[in-house]
Every structure is written in structure tokens, then in C-alpha cells.
């Protein structure tokens, strides 16, 4: 036991420093965080810096192939069918993409897990009602639902977020409920109940921390799913409306040129994949750091290195 490095054994180091050190010992997570920071800054400053440049049409550079400097460094990833720089469009599109995917994922995560906690903790008729409604949403193909809603409402970024969030709520709801049902029967929850802990305390202090890692992992996987769903909506013309665009819309747009100019759809696809993967690696690191039983994996590596 004395071999375990306890937090606080190095009082001279701040918490931030300690977490950075823990991050550094998971090299994959470090790379993932760096990529995510890149995407984050692109989303934050991209449109302000390159908005006009990314919309500039250059017919000479139509479907220009990637990895050539013939048209300048902005065309390193090639150009699309209107001769716009794919690199700049990726940077500018990051904002809409991240805004849309993050909002949809966060909304469905919050609503879904909240309902899941209620359904799991109460496990009475409220639970039955919540679960049947979730079944109804699940039994409807999500794309079809999105089509109908967006056909009735006007397509736009807020409505796309709304539709994507609603169709993905049951995923979180069902997982949360199942986990809560299991965790609430554990002895440490019973122990707290005997002491007189209120339901709110039981859920917040005991059940929630145990369930959260699972939900975070699902959310990162959902992130990629939402980005791709949005691209299918864009493909059908019901997603985000031009001139605004997202990575998903770029994939959809490149689809017709797959045989002649594969890079038009390829690079936005790579961006989506890398973002989803980075989020997943980061979530994995977060899970290990947040679990006192697992944390030694990162700390022991620290000792040996």
C-alpha cells in the first residue's frame, strides 16, 4: 500500500500540472487532445479568418488534386468541384459541424440520462411510460422521422439539432436505466440509504459517478454518428442550407465525384473519423483518471519512466 502514490504526496504541484502529467503518460490520449484542440481553434477562429477565402470560386482549380502546391498552400488538400480550397473549407466548416454535433449530443445526453435516471430509480409506472415512449421513438427509423419533421418545419441549424437530438435520446435513456437499476441495488447504496440519504443524494453522490463513464463513452461514439446523420440529411437537401455548410455536407457534395475526384469526399470524411476517434481516446483516458481503482495504470507508468 505504501507503494501507491497518493494524491497530495506532492503538494508542490498544482492539480492542473498533475493532470497534464497523467495525460502525458497516455500518448494516444495526448495526441487526441492535441487534435481536438486544433479542431476547437479552427471552429472558434476559422470563419473569422477564412470565411471569404473558403467561398472564393476558382474555376481554374476545379477538382484540383491534393498534395500539390500548384495553386498555393491552401490547395494542399485539393479543391472541390467549384475550385474552392478543401483545407480552408474544412477549417471554416469546423464551426458549424462542431456546434451542430456537440449541441445534438449534449442535448440528447442530458435529456436521455435524466429520463433514464428517473426510470431506473423509480422503476414504477413512470418508468413504464418513459420506456414505452422511448420504444415508439426507437421503432421509427430516425432518418424518416428527421425527414418528416424537417419537411414540416423549415430546415435550419436549430431544427437539425432538434431532430438529431430527439432521435438519439433513447440510446442514453435505455443504457442509463439499465445501469441505474443495477447500481441502486449495490451494497454501498443500501448503506447510504440506511443512513437516511435522500434520493437526490443517492443518485447524485453514489449512482451518478458510477454510471457517468459509460454515458461519456456512448456520447463520444454518438458524436460521429450525429455528424454522419447530418451528412445524410444534407444529401437529401434537408440538412443545413447553403451557403452554410458542414463536414457532413462536404462529404455529401463529394459523393457525385467519387470516381473522378475522390478527395472531395475523402478529406471531410477523414476529419469526421479523426474527431470521433480522438474523442473516444480522450473519453477512455477520462474514464481511467476518474476511477480511483484504475488510476494507478497511469500513475505506475509515471513511476517507471
Amino acid at each position: 500500500m505504501s507503494t501507491i502514490v497518493t494524491p497530495g504526496s506532492r503538494p508542490n504541484r498544482s492539480a492542473v500540472h498533475r493532470y497534464l502529467l497523467l495525460l502525458w503518460h497516455d500518448k494516444f490520449a495526448t495526441a487526441a487532445v492535441m487534435f481536438l484542440l486544433l479542431v476547437f481553434f479552427a471552429a472558434l477562429f476559422g470563419p473569422a479568418l477564412f470565411e471569404s477565402a473558403s467561398n472564393r470560386i476558382n474555376l481554374l482549380a476545379r477538382n484540383a488534386p491534393p498534395l500539390s502546391f500548384q495553386h498555393g498552400w491552401t490547395f494542399i488538400l485539393g479543391a472541390d468541384s467549384l475550385g474552392r480550397s478543401i483545407l480552408l473549407r474544412l477549417i471554416v466548416g469546423a464551426q458549424n459541424t462542431m456546434l451542430l454535433a456537440a449541441s445534438a449530443v449534449v442535448c440528447s445526453l442530458l435529456v436521455g440520462s435524466f429520463l433514464g435516471f428517473i426510470a431506473g430509480y423509480r422503476n414504477d409506472w413512470t418508468s413504464a411510460v418513459i420506456m414505452r415512449v422511448a420504444d415508439v421513438v426507437m421503432s421509427f427509423p430516425s432518418l424518416l422521422l428527421a425527414l418528416i419533421v424537417l419537411y414540416v418545419l423549415t430546415p435550419g441549424i436549430a431544427n437539425v439539432i432538434l431532430v438529431l437530438a430527439i432521435t438519439r435520446i433513447p440510446i442514453y435513456l435505455r443504457t442509463t436505466r439499465a445501469e441505474v437499476l443495477e447500481v441502486r441495488e449495490r451494497t454501498f447504496v443500501t448503506a447510504a440509504r440506511i443512513m437516511g440519504a435522500s434520493p437526490r443524494r443517492l443518485i447524485w453522490r453514489h449512482i451518478r459517478p458510477t454510471v457517468t463513464p459509460t454515458l461519456i463513452t456512448i456520447a463520444t461514439l454518438e458524436f460521429a454518428f450525429v455528424m454522419l446523420s447530418e451528412s445524410s440529411l444534407s444529401f437529401l437537401g434537408l440538412g443545413i442550407q447553403p451557403p452554410a455548410f458542414t463536414w457532413g455536407a462536404m462529404v455529401a457534395q463529394g459523393q457525385s465525384y467519387l470516381s473522378t475526384a475522390w478527395w472531395v469526399a475523402f478529406w471531410p470524411g477523414v476529419a469526421i473519423t479523426l474527431t470521433a476517434m480522438s474523442l473516444n481516446l480522450f473519453a477512455n483516458w477520462l474514464r481511467i483518471v476518474g476511477d480511483p481503482v484504475q488510476r494507478w495504470r497511469l500513475e505506475s507508468r509515471k513511476k517507471t519512466s
Binding site: 500500500m1 507503494t3 501507491i4 497518493t6 494524491p7 497530495g8 449495490r186 451494497t187 454501498f188 443500501t190 448503506a191 447510504a192 440509504r193 440506511i194 443512513m195 437516511g196 440519504a197 435522500s198 443524494r201 453522490r205 453514489h206 459517478p209 458510477t210 476518474g290 476511477d291 480511483p292 481503482v293 494507478w296 495504470r297 505506475s300
Partner: protein, 540 residues
């Protein structure tokens, strides 16, 4: 077998190490023992002593890596099994050396009928289907599986733990092995079932003349069953010899400590003389709890008109086998289950349907310590958060600035140190975790602590320490205990008064000394006789 120096199985100077995250761990060092046909050797040790490692080496069950056998040899009739080919090892396993385990539900395949599984042992060795089935049935009848013919096609989950262990034994002896290894075979079973399984093992050994290697932590089993014993501690055999000799005149200090730690060997606790003067804390009258069952069978009574009282400063032992309703009793008193009938009061406050102000008092005055401290402490909270949680729930008791100091005080009272407050539960051993759970129970300065099998998942010597701790805390804080256990010796050494429960009813209650020396009810007598530690004196 003709030579005198040729044993059935002999382990010589075996050393095994494991490579783990924290470096190399020596699992066993220079372990030597031997066993002959018709002989019972017990390897006695607490958890982590390495008692199972040498038998795993014998069966070729050590995973390499992370394990590594650094020295020694394991001889079966003079043949070194550590050098034997994988094929040869497999040939011996099961047919010449067989093994039974503690967890019978995990060891039997849940999707096949038990008869099929026993017969499979024969079929695997080329016996025809009809013949295999009839020999399997014969075996199941031999191990006294009740109603073996009718239950031949039942599945493992349809049997009780003791019955499953019988089935496991039938499979193990199917091919007439020379050596049967029993790794904690009765640890999960009730005492009366345990006694019957041990008797069966002894009979089978005599009948077939096989060697029996018993791996256990239970001194009572060793005393009742083994011819010779090897006591292990920290990966080494500290003492070995005939059981009578080792137990009557232990040479090593560890063995002496272990023997002294066994509960139930010393005299009875000095119970307070004047029971009448002490005021009653908890009074339970005619408490019943029925579970509605399927329409055909009648209601199952988990508690059936249970009446008793708990006086201030008293330790009330509740004993019974699994399913006797002793845990339901605790859960009902704490309001986790709804009683169907009867009353229970704490100092004239209704415990079953308390008013909200009464409930706060009850939650403060009655605490609980659970069986498994690993499960009862939230793994994501630090020790400080765990112990101060009662104050976070009952805000009025202690201002937040005093929490830290009080947690430190409590940790010291239960034999831990202040610095432990910032650690997490998994960084402690089982005994230390139970100390943390006890500290949490003490946080609200309760009058009553209900211990539900609080020491039964701990090693014997740790058990003794926790019991000693509970005793000293009782005097210090004026506590009363309801001490629920299936282990009679523990109750005997700790409780002032004992209730014996069976099928939801109290069959007998009385002062500990009276009950153990002069049991009135036949069931109490049966329980006492089946206990490996207590059984001897009662039968004599």
C-alpha cells in the same frame, strides 16, 4: 510404489513467482510436501498465503507468464510433472488427479443436465452412451444425491449448493483418481451441509483408497478430517506434521497465533450479571414477513412471528443457516423491507412505520455493518468522504469544519491512522476496509449497530482482530450489537445472548453459555454437532 521413498505425489522445493505491475511477487518459496494413497493432507493458510499455488502447479494450471516456476519439482509416482508434456499432463488431469472447487455454480456448465455432464466424463474416455449413463447414475447415487434417478436430467441451477458439490465430487471420482484435490470445497456452504459433504469425502477416500489433498483456511475442517497438516504463511510452509501434534503442541509462532485466534475455544464472554436492570432498547413482537409467491404454493414466510428484545449494552447473536431469515430480520428492522405483521420499537418509537422525526432518530441511533466491505464502501469516494457522509446527510450533528478532525479520530479509534483519510477503499486489505465501515457506523454515535455477517468474509486472524475491536468499542461507546452470523464459534465467543433461527422462526433463544452447553431444541443440537470446531465436545 514398492520403494519406501516413492510417494504418490511429492512436491520438492517449489518456488513460484508472479510478475505484476508492482514488480515480482514470490507466491511460494521452497515449498515441500508429499502425500500417499489413503492419506489426507491439509494445506492450511489464510488468503494470500499461497496455499493453492502448489496444487495449481501440480495440475499445470499456473499461467506462464505472468507466473514463473523458479525452482523445484512436482513428482507424481516419481515422474516430474513440471517437465511433462502438455499431452501427458492432460492425460493425468481428471483421471489420476482430480479436483473440486469452491464455486460449484461456476464449475458446472449451466446449459447441460447434470447427468449428461457426469456421463460426459466417461464418454470422453471411450465408454458407450448407455453404459456411460448407467455408470453416471450409479455415481450420483453413491454421492447420495437425493432422488438421483429422477433428477438425472435436471440442470445445475435447480440444485442447492451442497447438492452441486456432490455432483462435482461425482465427476471428480468418476475415473477413480489416485489423488483428489479439494480447494475450499465447503467454504460457501452452511455448517450442517458442510459436515455431510466432509463425511462423504472421508467415506469415499476410505472406500477407494485415494489421497485427499484438502486446501482450506478452516482449522476445524483440518482437525476433523486430515491426518497431516502443512501450515502456510506468506508463501512458506511454517510448520508441518501430524494434525494432533501440530494442533496440541504448535512449534511455530504463526501456528500458535492462528490457533489462539480461532473463536469458540476460549471460555464464554462474561455477560453482565443483572439482565433485569438494563433498559430495553429494541423490542420486537410477533414480527412476520411473507413473500407472495406463485398462485399454487402458499406464501413463503421469511419471518414468522419473531419476538425478542435487545437490552442496552447487550450483544445479541442471531444464528441460522442461509435462508433462515436472519438477514431479512435486519433489513426489516432498518426499514428496507416492509413487515407484513407484528411490531418493532426502539425506545417506544415505532420502527416499522416511523414518523418523520422518529425516522431521523432511528437513522442516527441504529447503524449497520455489512458482510462485504468491498461492496459496502463506494469505490469512488475517499475514506474521508465515506466516513463523513453521515454528517453530510444529517447536517445538524457536526459543523463541516470539524469533519476532518473527527474522521481522523474515528480512524484512530478503529486502529487505522489519520493519513489514511485521503486514500480510496481499494488501497486497503479486507480487514482494514471493514474497520473503515465500522468507523462510518460510529460517526453518528449510535446506540445500536447491526452487524450482518460482518466478519464472515475475513480470515480467521483478521476476524479475531475485528471482534476484539467491536468488543472494545462496545465498552468505550456503550454500544449494543445485533450480531448476525452463520458461524457458531464466532457467536459463542462474542454474544451475550443468542437467537437460533430456522425457516423464519426463532427455534431457541437464551444466554450464550446455556444455549451452547445445554441446547434444548433438536435443531440447535444438530447445528452444534455439525460445526467442525464445536462438534467434538458436544458429541463426546
Amino acid at each position: 510404489m514398492t520403494g519406501n521413498n516413492r510417494h504418490l505425489v511429492e512436491v520438492r522445493n517449489l518456488s513460484v513467482e508472479f510478475h505484476t505491475q508492482d514488480g515480482t511477487v514470490q507466491a511460494v518459496r521452497n515449498v515441500s510436501w508429499h502425500i500417499d494413497r489413503g492419506e489426507t493432507l491439509a494445506i492450511l493458510g489464510e488468503s494470500g498465503s499461497g496455499k493453492s499455488v502448489s496444487s495449481s502447479a501440480l495440475m499445470g494450471l499456473i499461467d506462464i507468464p505472468p507466473g514463473r516456476i523458479t525452482s523445484g519439482e512436482v513428482l507424481y509416482r516419481g515422474e516430474d510433472l513440471l517437465k511433462a508434456s502438455y499431452e501427458r499432463q492432460r492425460e493425468l488431469n481428471g483421471s489420476k488427479i482430480a479436483m473440486i472447487f469452491q464455486d460449484t455454480l461456476a464449475a458446472l456448465n449451466p446449459v447441460y443436465p447434470v447427468g449428461w455432464q457426469v456421463a460426459e466424463t466417461f464418454r470422453a474416455h471411450g465408454v458407450g452412451h448407455k453404459e456411460a449413463d448407467s455408470r453416471a447414475l450409479e455415481l450420483l447415487e453413491r454421492v447420495e444425491l437425493p432422488n438421483a434417478r429422477a433428477r438425472f436430467n435436471d440442470y445445475p441451477h435447480q440444485f442447492s449448493g451442497g447438492q452441486r458439490q456432490r455432483i462435482m465430487i461425482a465427476m471428480a471420482i468418476a475415473l477413480d483418481p489416485d489423488l483428489l484435490i479439494a480447494d475450499e470445497p465447503t467454504t460457501a456452504l452452511d455448517v450442517s451441509v458442510q459436515a455431510r459433504i466432509l463425511r462423504l469425502l472421508k467415506d469415499l477416500q476410505r472406500e477407494r483408497g485415494m489421497g485427499l489433498l484438502m486446501i482450506t483456511h478452516d482449522l476445524g475442517i483440518v482437525e476433523g478430517l486430515a491426518d497431516r497438516v502443512a501450515v502456510m504463511n506468506g508463501g512458506e510452509i511454517v510448520e508441518t506434521g501430524p494434525v494432533g501434534q501440530v494442533f496440541n503442541a504448535p512449534e511455530h509462532a504463526y501456528t500458535r497465533n492462528l490457533l489462539n485466534a480461532v473463536p469458540g475455544r476460549q471460555g464464554f464472554p462474561a455477560s453482565a450479571p443483572s439482565d433485569e436492570r438494563r433498559d430495553t432498547l429494541i423490542a420486537v413482537r410477533e414480527l412476520s414477513k411473507g413473500y407472495p409467491s406463485s398462485s399454487r404454493s402458499p406464501v413463503v414466510m421469511a419471518l414468522d412471528r419473531v419476538s425478542f428484545t435487545l437490552a442496552r449494552g447487550e450483544t445479541l447473536g442471531v444464528v441460522g443457516e442461509s435462508g433462515s431469515g436472519k438477514s431479512t430480520l435486519a433489513r426489516t428492522l432498518l426499514g428496507l423491507e416492509k413487515a407484513s405483521n407484528g411490531t418493532a420499537s426502539y425506545k417506544d418509537r415505532d420502527m416499522l412505520q416511523p414518523t418523520s422525526s422518529d425516522r431521523t432518530v432511528l437513522q442516527r441511533q441504529i447503524q449497520m455493518v455489512f458482510q462485504d466491505p468491498t461492496a459496502s464502501l463506494n469505490p469512488r469516494m475517499t475514506v474521508e468522504e465515506i466516513i463523513s457522509e453521515p454528517w453530510a446527510i444529517h447536517r445538524e450533528i457536526l459543523p463541516k469544519k470539524d469533519w476532518k478532525g473527527r474522521v481522523g479520530d474515528l480512524l484512530e479509534q478503529v486502529g487505522l491512522s489519520r493519513e489514511h483519510a485521503q486514500r480510496y477503499p481499494h488501497q486497503f486489505s479486507g480487514g482494514q476496509r471493514q474497520r473503515i465501515a465500522i468507523a462510518r457506523a460510529l460517526a453518528l454515535q449510535p446506540e445500536v449497530i447491526i452487524c450482518d455477517e460482518a466478519v464472515s468474509s475475513l480470515d480467521v486472524s483478521v476476524q479475531a482482530q475485528i471482534i476484539a475491536l467491536l468488543k472494545s468499542l462496545k465498552d468505550e461507546h456503550g454500544l449494543s450489537y445485533i450480531f448476525i452470523a452463520h458461524d457458531l464459534p464466532v457467536v459463542r465467543s462474542f454474544a451475550d445472548r443468542v437467537l437460533v433461527m430456522r425457516k423464519g422462526q426463532i427455534v431457541e433463544q437464551g444466554r450464550t453459555e446455556d444455549l451452547f452447553t445445554n441446547p434444548q431444541h433438536p435443531y440447535t443440537r444438530e447445528l452444534l454437532q455439525s460445526d467442525p470446531v464445536l462438534g467434538g465436545p458436544v458429541a463426546a
